[in-house]
Each structure stands twice: as structure tokens, then as C-alpha cells.
């Protein structure tokens, strides 16, 4: 069994999932791939929208999809620095 992921690692995994799906993904796919409960996934998606990392897009059929933003892409690009920093200075967010 793998170690418990930190919050920053989970955010990275969700953004990476969206990026792998050409920048847009359905919530069911996130739920399937992210190893999170529905409630946790909803909380994370809400937080990611609040941080401006993703945006919610409503499709004509009424379903939601999530699209990665420029800020979300920047998070993925600078992820190594973020992890090095938080790990070194004991900020396990």
C-alpha cells in the first residue's frame, strides 16, 4: 500500500489527470482515476476552482466538465519547486 498523499500531491494528481485528457475532463473520470471518495473529490474540485487552477464548464446536455487554466498549468510546471520547498521547510500542506 502506498503512502498517504499530501494535499499538494493530490492537487497535482488531479491537474495532471486533466492535462493528460487534453486539458478537459468529466468529474466521473477524475473520481475513477484519482483514488478519492466522491465527497473528497468535490471538496478538492471546489478548492481548485477557488484557487483558479481549473474552471467548470457546463455542456449543452447539462453535465459538467473541468478545464485546466493557465494558473493550473503553472502549478504543474513549478511542482518540483513547490514540493522541494514544502518538504525542506516542513510545510506539509
Amino acid at each position: 500500500m502506498g503512502k498517504k498523499r499530501s494535499k499538494l500531491e493530490i492537487i497535482h494528481d488531479i491537474l495532471q489527470l486533466i492535462r493528460q485528457k487534453s486539458g478537459r475532463i468529466k468529474p466521473t473520470h477524475i473520481l475513477y482515476k484519482s483514488n478519492l471518495s466522491y465527497s473528497m473529490m468535490s471538496d478538492y474540485l471546489e478548492e481548485l476552482i477557488g484557487k483558479g487552477f481549473i474552471k467548470q464548464i457546463k455542456l449543452p446536455d447539462g453535465k459538467n466538465t473541468y478545464e485546466i487554466t493557465k494558473k493550473g498549468d503553472e502549478y504543474l510546471a513549478k511542482y518540483r519547486l513547490v514540493m522541494e520547498f514544502t518538504d525542506s521547510f516542513g510545510l506539509n500542506t
Partner: protein
Amino acid sequence: MVQLYLIPEWFVNISILMELIVTLVAFGIAFVSWRVYRITNERDIQLFSLGFLSIAISYLLWSLLNWIMLKHVELNIEALRVSRIEILGATLLISYFALFVIGWVTLNYATFKSKGIRNYVLLVGLALLTIYLSANKATAFYIATIFLSMIMMAHYYLEYFRKKNVRRLLTFFSFLLIFISRAELFFSSQSYAHYIAGHSIEMVGYIILLVNLIIVMKNGQEKK
């Protein structure tokens, strides 16, 4: 009358230089933390940055205070006895005390799991009031900062044993040195040897933090 510390004449300029070095290191950590905060929007990282910013400004004020002392106090005595703080830059000294304590409380608070504005105000308020209401403000200040640095050191000790790596060991070691330096500075009103030792150990602690920061920046570079 409050006696803060004793400095030998030959060490005044060196101590100002050391304080400026610590100021630069603390500003550097605050700057990198702020960059990481801008990427992540995480409150803990923002607090960490603001904590180091507060410490950096406090050291800048301390170096300014020592520089003013150097200009005001006669140099033909064996040691500069800093007394009557009301006359010698009391505003600078009080600002230094306040910013230093706020900085350390903020650093501690950033590592807490549960947060809330009331908790933060309580911690800052208690720390500042204890110093303000104390008959010997310098002693209260040193004891408060020894305690705050000890809690940080304990945090990094546990962090290191939770996941052992060189960077965490360096962080723990630097905070250990800062804690020892605070304890040394506590005795600096009795002998200037403690002031010299405290200042020197403190600078080494901050330089280790700088080395760690450089490693973080180097390892954290984007892959081309």
C-alpha cells in the same frame, strides 16, 4: 533601567555586518516562500513568508539600532553598556522586539494543523503582552524567543524523523543552532562572550538555511 546586552567595542561593526547577513537570508527565504505561495495559493506558505519577512525587518532594525549606538556611545570604554533604552532608540528597540516575536509566532503558527484568526491573535497577543507588561522587557523577550525557537526546533526534529533526508536534517540543524543562539543571547547582559557566541551561532544557523534554500532552488528547477 534595562540592560539589554554587552558588546565589546571591536565586535560592534562585525555584529552589524552579521545582522545584515541574517537580514538578507531572511528576506531571501521570505521572497522564495512568496513565489511558492503565488504558485500554490496555500495559506501556510504565505504565513511562512510573512514570518520571515517580519524577522528580516526586525534584524534590519536591530542593525540600525546597533549602528545608532555606535554613533552615540563613547568608544573608549571596554564594552558598550546598553542601558536606558528610553534614550537609545527606544522606538527601534520596541519595533525590533515586536516584529521579531510576531515573526516567530507566525512561523510557529504556519506549522500548526488547526488554524483560525482567533488562535493567531491569541498567540501574538499573549507573547507581546508578556513582554510589554514585564518589569524586565529584555529578559522576557529573550525567554519568549527561546521558547518560540524551541517549539520550531521540535517541529523540525519530528519532521526529520517522519521522513529522513538531507534537506530536512539541514533545516532541523539550522533551527537547533538558532535555538542555541537565542539561549546564548539570553546571557549576553552578563558577559559579552555570550553575545559574540550567540551572534556567531545564529549567523551559522541562517547560513545553513540559505544553503538549504539554494538546494531547493537548484532541485526545483523545471526540466528542460
